[in-house]
């Protein structure tokens, strides 16, 4: 269909036009990392007897003995070939580490986003249907409460209450209870892999591990989502076409869902995209608190250790995901809003 073709073409154009941004991210990160005063070689040559020689060894191993432009050129060449370098922190190739950890981060982020959307959209709608009512104020307060607690505090509190005091939650030590055997890795998403393996108790174990961290993260993003849903719903409920819909006698639910909500979804979609990519990068703290083996905590450790390659790889990955998410949002937007595709 032509709409599909035009959407695809637009997506393709968007992707190509975002390549320079990716390159910018790459160079910028590279430079930023070199500005860090820490010398990874020294940090990692920390054996009890590490001396000058050992530092030099590591430095050579990391290519730090070369002049900076050469390092950059080499790095770009490597990246072009899919080689993101090696992590000193884990001793593994960065691309392998990221590949292994990304599903964890994505699974967490998706779960959090799902929780957030499932609570924010109804809240936003409820608020918009009765603006300035008690419901509206309640939603507003609830949202504000969600964003005013630092995630690490809400995370630690949730652990304290649900794990330590009540014992409802499993131990907050990663994606799955250590005594549950892992499913065969197909997608890397445990919830999916367990289903594919037909292991329901495993699925349950993984899901219950996921609840607390996902909830912690969701808490923080419910507010922007609910807020935008409310605003979008208000404006579409007040729009002329909703009045038209009323004037032709459509049932109320149809007006709210088909006419108002479907139009209000557009701005919500945009915000969802932004929220998703910020979550993915900003869940450092949640991952840390819940020992979640994701990419963000990986990058944090590397950053504190001035371990260049993982940080650079992480940032590049995030930028790439950002671009992809934007593309997806764009495509969804194009599908949801026919006005876009002709531009």
């Amino acid at each position: 269909m032509s709409q599909f073709a035009s959407t695809a073409r637009r997506a393709g154009r968007r992707f190509v036009s975002s390549l320079p941004a990716l390159l910018g991210v790459l160079v910028f990160t590279f430079l930023l990392m070199r500005v860090l005063p820490g010398d990874p070689a020294v940090f990692f040559a920390s054996g009890p007897t590490a001396g000058k020689e050992e530092i030099e060894t590591i430095r050579k191993q990391m290519g730090l003995d070369k002049p900076m432009p050469e390092q950059l050129a080499r790095y770009m060449l490597d990246v072009a070939q899919g080689n993101l370098g090696n992590s000193l922190t884990t001793g593994q190739p960065v691309s392998k580490d990221l590949r292994e950890r990304l599903p964890a981060s994505l699974e967490l982020t998706f779960a959090a986003l799902l929780i957030a959307l499932l609570s924010a959209v109804p809240l936003g709608i409820a608020a918009a249907l009765k603006p300035n009512s008690l419901v509206d104020h309640g939603v507003r307060l609830l949202c504000a409460l969600g964003v005013c607690v630092p995630t690490f505090v809400s995370g630690l509190l949730l652990i304290y209450v649900f794990y330590y005091l009540l014992g409802y939650a499993p131990d907050p030590t990663g994606r799955i209870d250590i005594f549950t055997s892992q499913p065969p890795r197909m997608t890397g998403f445990l919830l999916i892999d367990f289903l594919l393996a037909g292991d329901l108790s495993g699925w349950w174990a993984a899901a219950s591990q996921l609840v607390l961290p996902a909830f912690t993260m969701a808490l923080f993003v419910v507010a922007p989502l609910a807020r935008i849903t409310r605003a979008a719903m208000l404006s579409s409920l007040g729009s002329d076409f909703v009045r038209t819909a009323r004037s032709i006698g459509l049932p109320r639910w149809r007006i709210v869902v088909v006419y108002a909500l479907r139009n209000a979804i557009l701005p919500v979609l945009t915000i969802t995209g932004i929220v998703f990519s910020t979550m993915l990068g900003a869940n450092v703290l949640v991952e840390k608190v819940f020992s979640w083996p994701g990419v963000a905590s990986y990058a944090l450790d590397a950053l504190l250790a001035s371990d260049y390659a993982p940080v650079q790889g992480f940032v590049l990955l995030m930028a790439f995901i950002f671009v992809i998410v934007n593309l997806v949002i764009d495509v969804l937007y194009g599908i949801a809003d026919p006005r876009i595709s002709i531009e």
């Binding site: 941004a21 990160t29 507003r140 690490f152 807020r227 990068g281 840390k288 990058a299 950053l303």
Partner: protein
């Protein structure tokens, strides 16, 4: 602000008790930030190891911390620094973002595309990690925390200002100003910028809270302000580690202060939106 605006504000506040409360509380916070150090019962940095980690008592309303410092005094005194961090970070990114964004939105064309690219690069960064890296690179001084927070907010301001100016750049009064002999630059700076200010005020108030949380997050991973400076974020971050040993007051009080502050800003932002929304006006 004209008297009509004030009247309108009063009207909105009456219809919206949460905003009114938030406005009052924010005012209180500001007062506290100003007079805080003068009214606290103890020197916020004076240690007294003999009385370390004591639960709240009549002498120490919020208890004492690991060094026996009075948590109450520290929480109060921290208001100034926290508000300063939030305000200066937001003002910095706002000032830069508004000017850059306005110019882009007004001129369009090549400048706009170039800046757009830069914004894309910034946006594509995982922003919290960027802030971490910046603070790590520049050193964890208050200025650098402010700069990092400002930088990661910058793209949003640029985009926002750009969009706001874009819808106004074809307004009659913009052309009228040019017909009255204003150059493009003066149209942007004297006409468009003041006009988008109210809309941005909402963004600002929401961001204020966010800036404080950001600083708290940096503290949690060890990149916050220097000890022994009292700052809510760092107090919460340190106190959080005492949750499991039941020393709840270490995290609870600074945490509540932080929450309270962020909550006020958020509610205020919501209310501000209503005050400034022309559709709400009759």
């Amino acid at each position: 602000m004209s008297s009509a605006t004030l009247k309108h504000a009063a009207f909105v506040l009456r219809g919206n008790p949460l905003t009114a409360i938030a406005a009052f509380a924010t005012a209180l916070l500001v007062v506290l930030a100003i007079i805080g150090p003068a009214i606290v019962p103890y020197d916020p940095t004076a240690s007294d190891v003999a009385h370390a980690l004591e639960a709240p008592t009549a002498a120490h309303w919020f208890g004492t911390d690991q060094l026996g410092r009075d948590v109450f005094s520290r929480v109060i005194v921290a208001a100034r620094l926290d508000l300063a961090i939030a305000a200066s970070a937001v003002v910095l990114s706002f000032a830069l973002g508004a000017v850059i964004g306005s110019i882009c939105g007004y001129t369009g064309g090549r400048v706009d595309r170039a800046v757009g690219r830069f914004v894309d690069v910034l946006m594509a960064f995982p922003l919290f990690v960027l802030a971490m890296a910046m603070v790590a690179a520049l050193g964890n001084r208050v200025e650098n925390i402010v700069i990092a927070t400002a930088l990661i907010n910058l793209p949003f301001y640029i985009r926002f200002a750009r969009a706001e100016v874009n819808v106004r750049r074809n307004a009659g009064w913009v052309e009228a100003a040019r017909a009255c002999g204003d150059s493009h630059l003066s149209v942007v700076l004297r006409f468009l910028l003041p006009n988008i200010l109210p809309a941005m005020a909402v963004q600002i108030s929401l961001n204020l809270g966010w800036a404080i949380l950001n600083a708290a997050g940096l503290s949690f991973i060890g990149l916050g302000v220097k000890p022994p400076t009292p700052e809510w974020g760092i107090m919460v971050a340190e106190g959080a580690r005492f949750i499991s040993t039941g020393k709840w007051w270490l995290v609870a009080f600074p945490g509540l202060a932080l929450m309270f502050c962020v909550l006020c800003f958020n509610l205020l932002g919501d209310g501000l939106r209503d005050i400034l929304d022309p559709r709400m006006r009759t």
